[in-house]
Symmetry: C2
Subunit: 411 residues, 2 copies
């Protein structure tokens, strides 16, 4: 993979120019993209700033995020060739820092579950996951050092794990969702993919202008190991990856304890779909009313059913989630823990391309708005990962713990 | 003014057709629009549904809200002729109910404070207020029975009071803000204008598919009379209107008590700008980075200063606001009150067109996400109003109290 920090170190040291960094990216794209299909469009001749902390860093933008210079097509024929007026704020910010918005990356239609044509660069014959398929695959294939994605269920963390790259879903609204096609305004979260945790943390620190976010500190994390009882069991390979990561972290000095969440969290978990779909049928009202036949089939079926969710069920779900959100910090503190370590997906990417995989190990954290970081767990088979989760607003803590685990696994 | 319920009653009774109702609207527009300038664009030949609970109801859409059939120009030359792909969900919903999106209405640039060319139909020589100037003026002039607006500071309630119409700013996110040009994602709220409280309540009940919202019930409200101490004093005419409304409500049987808010609310009030502007410079990053010279001057100056707000100040402000939000229901309950009755603006619309007026009697309620309804207070001079405010999610209660006051004032 292309490390953002390595590229920046070489550029700062004068051994690589920003144009040279772009050339590396173009070479990688020429070599890998034909087999992977992660990119929807490419800026053939972008301006390459020579100054700024991201000068020379090409980034990908999931195709549900607005860009002024490239089409934004939502993974749907309804938006074929669509050109928004403005860059989404996150894109504008990366550009202002010197980054180059080089490519739009594939997305499932409206970031739902109908698979893309994208192939998994590190697991032939298996899905790259979704919905941020192109961003995960492009970074994992070494085509881009940075890519933006979005998560409403598990659309950043899951493809990161399936493709073998680092994925970060920050705290809800740490990054503005302005200029993103909305599916669920309570859940949609902008996230990113990079080669390593320090690469991702650096990008997030710059995006948010919050330098503390990448200061890992020296403290060893107190880790709560969680295999949620409220959803179907993980697969053996996923569980094995979690335990390997946990043992490595323990061997590196981390405090490790089993964690079980109060029943409220199982209840909240079960309500994700109520909130997502109640909002989804409203957010996509125009598309549903006027272009239903052009909607991808899984999305169309989901929206057909979503119309029946009563407002009372939505309100009740929101109340449960509010209670679960406000209680989470206390749950960890009472257990004397800093972070949760859990699965980013049930196991490796499923065989075939009929499904983008299962988001059941992601939905609770999205619902609670908590910062999540997925870290690859090295092994012999298809990519596997592990996920660190911290309380709301403790993105720096989630990243520090993920970095600790990443280093422990590399020993 | 054109009453939505009266038009619907006539249509349901067979004495008016939907096309006939549209013809009334067109006549009114032909008569009043040349002097008022409330409309940016008009659909010359819209489809007029003959079925649906809003069949025959033409509505206006503030020009920061996306429409597929009419341009959406944000009150700014930057978006001249801009055509979004889709209707915003609120527009799609009104259309699905049979309503006709007849016109886009004027807005200050990006819904900030630079005045529009719109004139106040009921107060010659005075501003109609802002930022939803066109929607307020069009309804107040009897040109439209319904119009959508948005409020980030006081942009629905204030122009409603200045123009002499009913304005509703619902609880935060009761109506989706999807498809609205974002200024502040924590504050932007979609609202509406109508001739009377029952008209507005009916529209909101249909928009939200929540029939209870318009069931006023028979209970007399327990009203807390509030003249906030934490902002500069109101003008004598504004205060007089509040007291007249209060006396009328009391004479009609309402319980009335003076209310004072704890110091936390004064503190929160003072932080509105920190949140609005910190988010605004991010939400409008593309426009600021690429088209700063084309921004309206007040907005440009505000965004110039907004860049200096540190993330820590924003985070601290959010924490204060969160505490104030979660405590408000308790403050009212402890005082044995159902709603707050307060000023919608310092007084009548200011003379001239240099300013859209002052939002100091609106900002706290927007910040707290509370439902607000502005009701005209009849008198001899320029329009004045009174504002009812209820706890979060109690939109039905705010509307019921506003209706009670509206009826009491009509006696």
């Amino acid at each position: 993979m292309l490390s953002l920090l390595s590229l920046r170190t070489r550029i700062a040291g004068g051994t690589l120019t920003p144009q040279g960094a772009l050339a590396l990216v173009r070479e990688a794209i020429a070599a890998r993209e034909p087999e992977i299909g992660a990119l929807v469009s490419l800026d053939a001749n972008p301006a390459v700033p020579t100054a700024g902390p991201l000068a020379g860093i090409a980034f990908g933008v999931k195709d549900v995020i607005d860009t002024a210079d490239l089409p934004t097509q939502m993974g749907s024929p309804i938006y074929a060739g669509w050109r928004p007026k403005a860059d989404a704020p996150a894109v504008a910010r990366l550009r202002a820092l010197g980054g180059v918005a080089l490519a739009k990356t594939t997305t499932t239609a409206f970031a739902f579950m109908d698979p893309t044509e994208t192939r998994n660069p590190n697991a032939p014959g298996r899905t790259p996951g979704g919905s941020s398929a192109g961003s995960a695959a492009a970074v994992a294939a070494g085509m881009l050092p940075l890519a933006l994605g979005t998560q409403t269920g598990g659309s950043v963390i899951r493809p990161a794990a399936f493709c073998g790259t680092v994925g970060v879903k920050p705290s809800f609204r740490l990054l503005p969702t302005v200029g993103m096609k909305c599916f669920s305004w309570s859940l949609d979260t902008l996230g990113l993919f990079a080669a390593t945790v320090p690469d991702a943390a650096h990008a997030l620190a710059l995006l948010t202008d919050w330098p503390e976010i990448e200061r890992a500190g020296d403290a060893v994390p107190r880790i709560g190991l969680l295999v949620p009882e409220f959803c179907a069991e993980p697969e053996p390979d996923g569980l094995d990856a979690l335990h390997r990561a946990a043992r490595s972290a323990e061997a590196a000095g981390a405090v490790l304890r089993q964690l079980a969440l109060p029943p409220l969290y199982g209840q909240a978990f079960g309500l994700h779909g109520t909130i997502q779909d109640f909002e989804g049928i409203r957010a996509l009202a125009w598309e549903y009313d006027h272009r239903r036949d052009a909607l991808a089939p899984l999305l169309r079926d989901q929206l057909d059913a979503a119309g029946a969710i009563p407002a009372e069920a939505y309100d009740a779900a929101r109340r449960v989630v509010r209670a679960a959100r406000s209680g989470f910090r206390g749950v960890l503190a009472e257990a004397g823990l800093d972070v949760v370590l859990t699965l980013p997906a049930p196991g490796a990417a499923p065989q075939g391309y009929a499904s983008t995989g299962d988001s059941r190990f992601n939905r609770l954290w999205t619902l609670l708005g908590l910062p999540c970081v997925s870290v690859p767990v090295p092994g012999d088979g298809p990519p596997l990962g592990v996920q660190a989760v911290a309380p709301f607003g403790e993105d720096a803590r989630a990243l520090a713990a993920a970095r600790f685990v990443e280093r422990a696994l590399a020993r």
